[in-house]
Assembly symmetry: C2
Homo-oligomer: 338 residues x 2
């Protein structure tokens, strides 16, 4: 099934409305799912909708949540998500941090009691568009990744996004795992071997057999593990979130979501046009630099998602039949949308 | 030559004093070099002293510098290093950020016009000891690392340190390059092959031949490149530092140092003992988790440097003859210290 962006937005919003979600949060959630599909990250796209609906039905997402902000210090906000839908809480947090940073220079928003945020890049992009800040977003998740030298999954895939206010903006958004669990499951489904360095078996040895994969490896060896752990601990320290194997609620429809999210915004208004021009010149030099033969050239984080977004905006978003069937089950009127 | 910690401290301070460095900065610089040797990072140890002295002689480090702090916003300090010795400027910056964060919740110190900071871990450790904050330090350096898919060195080795206030503290300190230039040079010196993934040749292809290595690879592939670039851009955006191939002055004795440094401190006083206990329990679970056979077990960033520090404290610091000869050239009295 191929649908266009506007239709995916409307479809998700309609499904959520039919489950009691207010118009504001429904619009944000549909934007976050449709943007992920548009940018070529279907793992964070409409295929997450059935789980979101299941969590609403189980009372684990409150469709009428009213997240609250407590500025415990002048540049530090504690956000209680009130079990709200992820993008409702996440946008409230990044908007607060970005607006406050304009006065204080830097601000932190530490979030607990929210649900899965979805893709992180759109949060830092939003902060750049609205406030021209440097923005950082971090979040944790269920334990799927093993520590370096270890044999057991004890860390989340712990993504980090970093946005830099250039034109176009630099938008780094990466998990600290070598690959996503979705990628491992897709190889299991198709019975194709994994790449080296993606996963370990029950004894902790690297495996190429998707059936034997017990934990995902951190990207980049010991350093990637160090970064994944630092994110787990920063989020744990600032939000009081659960840690490691105690994290629940982003992949199931049975448990309250007890992970945390941290946003940092740093104002750059004092820099002036000179600094921005210098950053943009450097980015041009990188893009124009001599590339290794046979590669698609040197790119800047955000470039690929931007060109994929444009392509899908023009050609529509492809949704696999298996996902579409679940959407139609949720919302029979979807059949007419496709 | 084997010398003990106290003697290395005194020796470095004496050399710096004989070149006009005031007692305070001389003590800080000697602490930073001796701590690096103690922790098993000789690339940031006393072997850097001849370059520091050469830069003082050339007027590129001002031994009487008076770094200044301008709080442009309540939680944002612009630090002009006044061409001061790295650890003098770096400690002033991290101390300011950590002290201010106690009131504002988070604070940034953005440094320009300093010299090479040396190891980053001791800065975040100092902030933890003095103020119990979560601390992040980032810095840039001369272009030695190629972009992903690229063929030319256009990024610094751009290290990041992250400290978490547990007992003992978590101290991540890592370059975003696969290895240091020192490691490549040491293989060149000994005519031993590089590991795969460390470096590329002039055509941009991976090489194991240290003579052919033209640029170091980022750690962790495309993701490590993304992180290295994000650090280059954050530092560039916040400090107005030079970028990429325009960076000079941490590896030469001919140019003013035009890189930048960024420190972020986040207060954790509001957390209470519960959160700290939870973080420490999680770290214990990681250390005690089943390790892959044949490895030294699961460790936490900072563990290895701590045990190496204790060993070298007990057994003395080994300094290669070639380095020692340079020290004696600088300061003939060193011969009696050894």
């Amino acid at each position: 099934v191929v649908i266009d962006f506007a239709r995916e937005l409307r479809l998700v919003a309609d499904v959520l409305a039919s489950h009691g979600v207010a118009a504001g949060p429904a619009a944000l959630q549909s934007e976050w799912l449709a943007e992920a599909d548009l940018r070529g990250h279907p793992s964070h796209g409409i295929q997450r909708l059935p789980m979101i609906v299941a969590r609403i039905r189980e009372g684990l997402i409150d469709p009428r949540a009213k997240p609250s902000i407590d500025w415990t210090r002048d540049a530090y906000a504690v956000i209680d998500g009130d079990r709200g839908i992820g993008p409702l809480v996440g946008t409230k947090a990044i908007d607060a941090a970005a607006a406050r940073a304009a006065r204080t220079g830097v601000a932190v928003a530490a979030v607990h009691n929210a649900n899965h945020l979805g893709m992180l890049a759109p949060y830092v992009e939003r902060a750049i568009e609205r406030a021209g800040v440097v923005a950082i977003a971090m979040t944790t998740s269920e334990a799927l990744v093993h520590p370096w030298n270890g044999t057991t999954a004890m860390l989340g895939t712990n993504p980090i996004a970093i946005g830099i206010p250039t034109d176009p903006p630099v938008l780094l958004d990466m998990a600290t795992s070598a690959v996503s669990m979705g990628r491992i499951l897709s190889h299991r489904h198709r019975s194709t071997p994994l790449d080296s360095g993606w996963a370990i078996d029950a004894d902790g040895r690297g495996t190429l057999d998707p059936e034997q994969a017990q934990a995902i490896s951190p990207f980049g060896g010991a350093k990637g593990y160090g970064l994944a752990l630092a994110i787990e601990l920063i989020v744990g320290a600032l939000t009081g979130s659960a840690l490691g194997q105690r994290v629940t609620g982003t992949l199931d429809s049975t448990s309250v979501c007890n992970k945390g999210d941290v946003f940092i915004a740093v104002d750059t208004a004092a820099l002036g046009a000179d600094t921005t021009a210098r950053l943009e010149r450097y980015l041009s030099e990188l893009r124009d630099s001599r590339a290794l033969d046979g590669t698609r050239g040197v790119t800047i984080p955000g470039d690929r998602a931007r060109s994929r977004r444009q392509y899908n905006m023009d050609h529509g978003i492809e949704i696999p039949d298996s996902v579409w069937e679940q959407i139609v089950d949720l919302y029979p009127a979807a059949e007419k949308v496709g």
